[in-house]
């Protein structure tokens, strides 16, 4: 009010200039100078962090065995083997091995694979770990019961390996370093239809081959194990993962499990290369509770040229699920606050356009910049990056503090590669940015803030709730997360699905039906369509 009345002469601007940079600056000024919107974005970041910390902090874990003092927090953190790729792994099996120095190969014929399992409601399944009586176990193989040849760095859990095997329900497979799985000849093994398996080591490369008759061989695949020691442990193995029954209903979490055993019969064992003359050594690798479920020992029996090996457990990545024997947390659990942040971001982004209609400012805006499509583009380019920055800052803080908090509470935060971590964090921020653009477009289409905010929140958040926390069966939940904008939360999934591990991969367990970027693309598609419609209507309608 105290400024002099004579306005200083501004440097002359070219008449009629409405450069995009100027438009961007105008929109940025609008955003920056409305206190409620700036506060709204800060609130979005804060609630995102706070909700994430609440989720991480509320998971107080207690542990301890009967007869020993109860422990809690960090003392409960289990020792879980880590594979060569940095992922947590299950590495429990019965290993009949010899050291192999340098190059060499091993060949074997498998004539039988049979199994026993404890169903979840029989006491054996939950009974003491170890080689208890087999009473109460039912005969039957698990789909991923496996037996065959393995070459392994050493007998420590989590070391590098390559294996070729027959399985209970998936034919011959070659697997290496826990996450890799190659399919070979399908069908079950029997005395009438035996399988010949061969592993050959040359340097860091291990080649797996299979044959039906021992004469005509098919190369199944090669595994590159960089830095493999000169002397490795090689031999025969048998493993059998937990028996699992899952129902596709109510979160799909009614899984019943019990330990299982598999027994394989081998003969025609042949070796080439430098093997010791001492003969075979049998050992349980990783007894006790291993990875995610109890393991029941094993053993082997040699008679003539015939070897019978019994084992339990699995050689595979750990898949988190309702059946996990130890409390785990995924990094995305600390980002659950993104839902709260999203709601605040949607409110601000909607107001960014609807407030112009309410105040009549839209007419001034359009008079200043008659090319209406560019106005909307400028608004999107302001609100999107603002939401991204707020989301990124909140996600980084929530993840750092959340992971520390969860660890202190005794939850095992599943390790992921830094690339995955970057994808989850940046993806969460990008999700907020695209949701803001979607909300902006809806606001321009509907012009009413209440309706636009509701449509945005209901289409992004409600399908997730219906999929994760409602009575819908897994199949319907999967479809919801394929078709609706809620699919974008797949970008937060840090642990992949592994076809070689039987588990319930349901939305309520944190597994989305679409790949991370595909899910994110669904939201982008919705935002693009809404923005296109908004531009069209902004041009066609009177403001």
């Amino acid at each position: 009010m105290t400024t002099p009345i004579s306005t200083p002469q501004r440097p002359a601007r070219p008449a009629g200039r409405d450069g995009f940079a100027q438009l961007l600056r105008a929109e940025w000024t609008k955003f920056r100078t409305v206190r409620g919107w700036v506060v709204g974005m800060i609130v979005a970041a804060l609630v995102m962090v706070l909700v994430g910390l609440f989720a991480a902090g509320s998971s107080h874990i207690g542990c301890g065995r009967p007869g020993s003092p109860a422990r809690s927090g960090r003392a409960c953190l289990p020792h879980i083997p880590i594979g060569p790729g940095g992922e947590v792994v299950t590495d429990s099996f019965y290993f009949v091995h010899q050291p192999l120095a340098g190059h060499g190969s091993i060949t074997v014929r498998v004539t039988a694979l049979t199994g026993l399992y404890a169903s979840g409601n029989s006491p054996v399944g939950q009974g003491p770990v170890g080689q208890g009586p087999l009473a109460g176990m039912k005969p039957g193989l698990q789909p991923w019961s496996k037996a065959g040849l393995i070459i392994k760095e050493n007998t420590r859990q989590g070391s590098a390996y390559a294996a070729i095997m027959v399985t209970g329900g998936h034919g011959v497979r070659m697997q290496y370093d826990y996450t890799h799985d190659l399919a070979g000849r399908p069908g079950a093994v029997s005395a009438a239809a035996p399988r010949w398996l061969r592993l050959t080591r040359a340097g860091d490369t291990i080649t797996g081959s299979e044959s039906a008759d021992g004469r005509r061989w098919t190369r199944l695949g090669t595994a590159d194990l960089p830095g493999l020691s000169a002397t490795v442990q090689a031999g025969l193995f048998t493993a059998s993962p937990q028996h699992e029954v899952t129902s596709p209903f109510f979160g799909g979490s009614s899984s019943q499990g019990g330990a299982s055993l598999a027994t394989a019969a081998f003969d025609h064992v042949g070796t080439s290369g430098r093997w010791p003359r001492s003969g075979w050594t049998g050992a349980v690798i990783g007894g006790g509770i291993s990875g995610s479920y109890p393991v029941r020992g094993g053993g082997y029996h040699q008679a003539g040229g015939r070897l019978v090996v019994t084992g339990s457990g699995d050689i595979a990545p750990v898949v988190v699920g309702p059946g996990a024997a130890f409390p785990t947390a995924t990094i995305e659990e600390h980002l659950v606050g993104a839902f709260a942040g999203l709601i605040a971001v949607v409110v601000v982004a909607t107001m960014f356009i609807t407030a112009e209609y309410r105040r009549g400012l839209i007419r001034t805006t359009l008079a200043a910049s008659p090319r209406r499509g560019r106005v909307l583009a400028a608004k999107a380019l302001v609100i999107g990056p603002v939401a991204f920055v707020a989301g990124l800052a909140a996600a980084v803080v929530a993840l750092l503090l959340g992971a520390r908090l969860a660890r202190n509470q005794g939850a095992y935060v599943l390790p992921v590669s830094w690339l995955t971590e970057v994808r989850v964090v940046a993806g969460t921020a990008a999700l907020l940015a695209v949701a803001a653009v979607l909300a902006l477009a809806l606001g321009a289409v509907l012009r009413r803030s209440a309706a636009a905010v509701t449509v945005a929140i209901v289409t992004i958040v409600l399908p997730y709730i219906l999929a994760v926390a409602s009575v819908l069966p897994v199949g319907a939940a999967d479809w919801l997360l394929r078709l609706t904008p809620a699919a974008a939360f797949a970008i937060q999934q840090s642990t992949p699905r592994y076809p070689q591990v039987t588990a319930l991969y349901s939305p309520s367990g944190g597994y989305f039906p679409l790949a991370p970027w595909a899910g994110f693309a669904v939201l982008c598609g919705y935002a693009a369509v809404a923005l296109g419609l908004a531009v069209y209507l902004l041009r066609r309608r009177d403001a």
Binding site: F249, A329, I343, V346, S449, A450, I457, I465, V471, L472
Partner: protein
């Protein structure tokens, strides 16, 4: 427009005499306001359509294949749409107040009816009544859809699933409770809108309050203690306990107790809204 409004006109002189007459006038005024805005009828129709459509879709998407024990609460399943319909109800209730603030109408309203609590009470009565009516149709339609669809999806009487019928005590309770649930959501939204005033912010607060709790409850599943607290005291989780017809003994909160929690939320919101309406300048 040239028709006189006898009720409203008669109410004016009485307003000075009796409190109830003043409330009657306020009721009339609110009814006229809400009735003559074109959005109201569309939102009511949308509430019904959203509830029935989502319920029918959820029911049709669920099937009970032979040989599997299906642990499905069919009444709750066929009322899934209430989770969606409540969002439309929230819009209706929020707009009943926030549009007055955005257009400046609130000053006219408060000039005509200076007792501010009467204004809020009248709005609550009218919006609540309308939502009860629309909710009844929506819930009845959802149950009808469930009744028609469920037997074809494997939920047959032969497998222990009774045909949905209001003659069944728990189903009647779930249905009537769902209607009340929607009305309480309207009151909760109204109270929040009276406090927040801005429609976008108010609807954001309402939907955040409703929808965030189930997500957080799913994440803290590792801690039954906190999960149970959320299931008991969050408005949507507690309120929807009224829809359960099976496994009642394992519910974190009893059906009517849950609806009571939601009623407490709604009462608290209305109280806060009423206080702020009295204390602040319009």
């Amino acid at each position: 427009m040239s028709h006189p409004l006898p009720a409203a006109r008669a109410a004016l002189p009485q307003a000075a005499r009796g409190e109830w007459a003043g409330l009657r006038g306020a009721l009339c005024a609110e009814w006229t306001k809400l009735r003559t805005v074109p959005g109201t009828i569309w939102l009511l129709v949308a509430t019904i359509a959203a509830t029935v459509a989502v319920s029918a879709a959820a029911t049709a998407a669920t099937s009970c294949p032979p040989g599997i024990a299906c642990a499905v609460d069919t009444a709750k399943l066929s009322l899934t749409g209430v989770e969606f319909g409540q969002a439309v109800v929230a819009i209706l209730a929020v707009l009943a107040i926030s549009t007055e603030y955005s257009t400046g109408m609130i000053r006219t309203t408060l000039t005509a009816v200076p007792r501010r609590s009467a204004v809020l009470a009248a709005k609550a009565a009218i919006v609540g009544g309308l939502v009860l009516a629309a909710g009844t149709i929506g819930v009845a339609g959802s149950l009808l859809a469930g009744r028609l669809i469920l037997p074809g999806r494997g939920f047959t009487a032969a497998r222990g699933f009774r045909v949905l019928s209001l003659a069944d005590g728990p189903v009647l309770r779930a249905a009537a409770g769902s209607v009340l649930y929607l009305a309480l959501i309207a009151l909760l939204s109204l109270g929040i809108a009276a406090s927040v005033r801005d429609s976008a912010a108010a609807i954001g607060v309402v939907l955040g309050l409703l929808y965030l709790a189930p997500i957080i409850a799913a994440v803290v599943a590792g801690n039954p203690h906190w999960q149970q607290r959320i299931e008991r005291y969050a408005p949507m989780n507690a309120g929807l306990a009224i829809q359960a017809t099976t496994g009642l003994h394992s519910l974190p909160i009893s059906p009517w107790g849950g609806l009571g929690v939601l009623a407490a939320w709604a009462a608290a919101a209305l109280l806060a809204g009423g206080l702020l309406l009295r204390l602040r300048d319009a």
